[in-house]
Amino acid sequence: MTTPRRPSPPLRSPERRRGEPGPSGDSAAKRDSERRPGELTARELGRWTWRQITSMRTALLLLLLLALAAIPGSVIPQADVDSLAVTRWKDQHPKLTPIYQKLDLFSVYSSPWFSAVYLLLVLSLVGCIIPRLLVYYRALRAQPPAAPRHLTRMPVQASYTTEQAPADVLEQARGVLGRRHRLRATGDGDDYVAAERGYLREAGNLVFHLSLLVVLAGVAMGSLWGYQGGVILVQGTTFSNNLTQYDDFKPGGLFRQDQMKNFRFSVDDFSVDWLKSGPRFGQARKFEAALSYRTGDAEPRKYNLRVNHPLEIDGTDVFLIGHGYAPVITIRDGSGQVVCTGPTPFLPRDASFLSYGVVKCPTAKPGQIGLEGMFYPSFEMQNGNPVTVFGDDLNPTLSMLSYTGDLGLDDGRSQSVYVLDKAKATPLKKADGKPMRVDLQPGDTVELPDGLGTVTFDRVDPWIRVQISQTPGKGIALLGVILALIGLCGSLFIRPRRVWVRAVPAEDGTGTRVEVAVLDRSGNGETDEVLARLLPQLKKESQ
């Protein structure tokens, strides 16, 4: 904070109050004259730095810097938001990728430089708030200041004469102002009334800024102790809340496994409403998953999980965030034994629910069997191309390529269930040398060449993708913003005002001369209007 530069002394903004030179100001000036120019003690340097950091101007610049720093994350894909987009971007920009990576541009909002900006802002905020809290505490207990000597020199003032005695005028003024102002206790011989109102404005401002810290604390708790995990669940399956059951899991920095609540739920049914007409033809709506869930040994309970209606179990939230198809495929090997069977989730490629999936059957004899291909919910041939015309499974069809050989499942490396490792596998060929396609509709069975076995497409089950998360501190963050909003309204809409009324015997000896001045300390109020409203009241009461 620099020393005040503005000339008009009565306009004390909070900034000025913070900037008032401390008691050491004078002696420092004296010492200055004895030293060479440019010389600063460490203490002074420290104080100077602190003042810079906590100055209003720095706060303003840091705010603008924060806005600026937030921009890159909105144009460059962010790993936290859409990791797929990040991978795609990296593939397209091999040259820029290392540079961007160095600059943390794929995780802007957790990068050191972004954190530096907001931490500096927090520092500035704390440095700004604490002194102001003290100032405010003192201001609350202080009396409204005495009237300036020359009220008529104030920017907004008026004067008039009346027949009434000065003491009566002041008495009336106290009556008028006392209702909505705090009055200064009068000393003997005071010829004025001093009134002040709007103390809560500063309180609002302080609450607002302090609440920002509360919000930050809440958000920080969420990212330190929270977690988010996702899992795909086929209709009819059960999930127990256990690390091993998740498909993906993102814990916060201080997450401990014993935080995970003990619950289970099963997906009994899933239904979707498909729009069969209108401009949004093909759009899916009313996703609804019927769950039964239980915590510990409690009785199972039912819940209809829908978008916008998450299920909360014991502080853990379960959200429905996606759905798709899982064809149920049965593979019999060369000996006619069922070796692999069950639903396999296929991942939708787009809104038409054309889906991609992989089936691996390493236990089949005489050779391992791998399938890779597409699922068409509503299959149709259009101009010789296979397409799906609708997202609903009106004509479910599988079309996959088949492989045998080493699927890479035996060497102990972990492998995505959605990728077929074809490095050491060979595509199966039909007798005529063409690739062996497995094109099936529910109930169909196809025989693989070389006596490898058969593949049967039994039926299609829906799957849902649920997100399961704990977000500790979300209540605190919410409380913080609500408090901030309340404080903000106080800070913006309460008008801090001082009013002085002075009554002295008129110079010509007849009656009393009354001077009134109004000062709006926020600099935003309509002081003229206030004065205009006040004058008739003062005059009326004095009749």
């Binding site: 503005r6 706060a59 987009a85 998450p310």
Partner: protein, 328 residues
Amino acid sequence: MSNTAWETLSNQAVATAGIVYFLALVVYLAEWASLRQPAADRELVGVGGGAEPAASAAAPAAGAPAARTAFLGRLGILLTALACAAHFVALVGRGMAADPNRVPWGNMYEFTLSGTFVVALLYVVLYKKFALGWMGPLVVGFVVATLMVAVIWLYDAVAPLTEALNSPWLVIHVISAVIATGAFTLGGIASVMYLVRMRAERRAAAAERPLSRWLDRVPQLDALDRLAYRVHAFAFPVWTFAVLITGPIWAHEAWSRYWNWDPKEVWAFITWVVYAGYLHARATAGWKGRKAALLALVGVATLWFNFIGINYFSTTSQHAYAAERIVP
């Protein structure tokens, strides 16, 4: 009435509103033009006018031209109000055309329709209280231009809401966001005029000639500054409520994370921070007035960029209204 009838009604109402806004614009421009009187007249009132706008506005010396100006001004606000009513019908029609009926905030076209409606409505409502007559051509011009953008580029047929939008929070969140957007826009217009008038005043002072008459109608700098502040002071808490309270609550329910640094969220945050900067600027010596007004303009730019622009820059936004989100 059938759904298609409602949709047709809505389209016709938009067209009507557009035409009437345009008429209002023409009338306002005529009003401005009538302020630029022939030189002889100008001589009469111009002298005092430059120094004391209040006096010149009421100057009886202008006689018949002043009466004409006043008439045009009244006609302008009347037309604006009529257009605003048609605009409202257009919004209702969109909502009624959908099956099931809903709030008219399903896609960008409807958002833009609502945003411009709030700008016009706030103008009409606040016209008297803040003596906003001078703002007429700017507001109406902005509304006409944005409506044209909406009709030409953003038009979308009536459709049911996507599942994530289907929430009571949509109503609360969008109402507050749209109101704040409308108010920030008005505040931005006041700030533009602050800068324009400031420049004109400086030039006029340098050339020692009075301010041009149409600028005379614009309030004085400190009044403009205060007006801009009051509008912003109203809009900022509403925006805070929209993007930092209802937005996250809804995002938590629909997408499982209350804040995800999604591009729309990022820009809403940027807008918020810039306006916080604006409020700080007004309390900082050396930033009052001009710099604060510039910041307000940056704020409005980020606001409308977020409203319309970001959709074209970023494909990862979950707020891509038309697209179906529930595809993993």
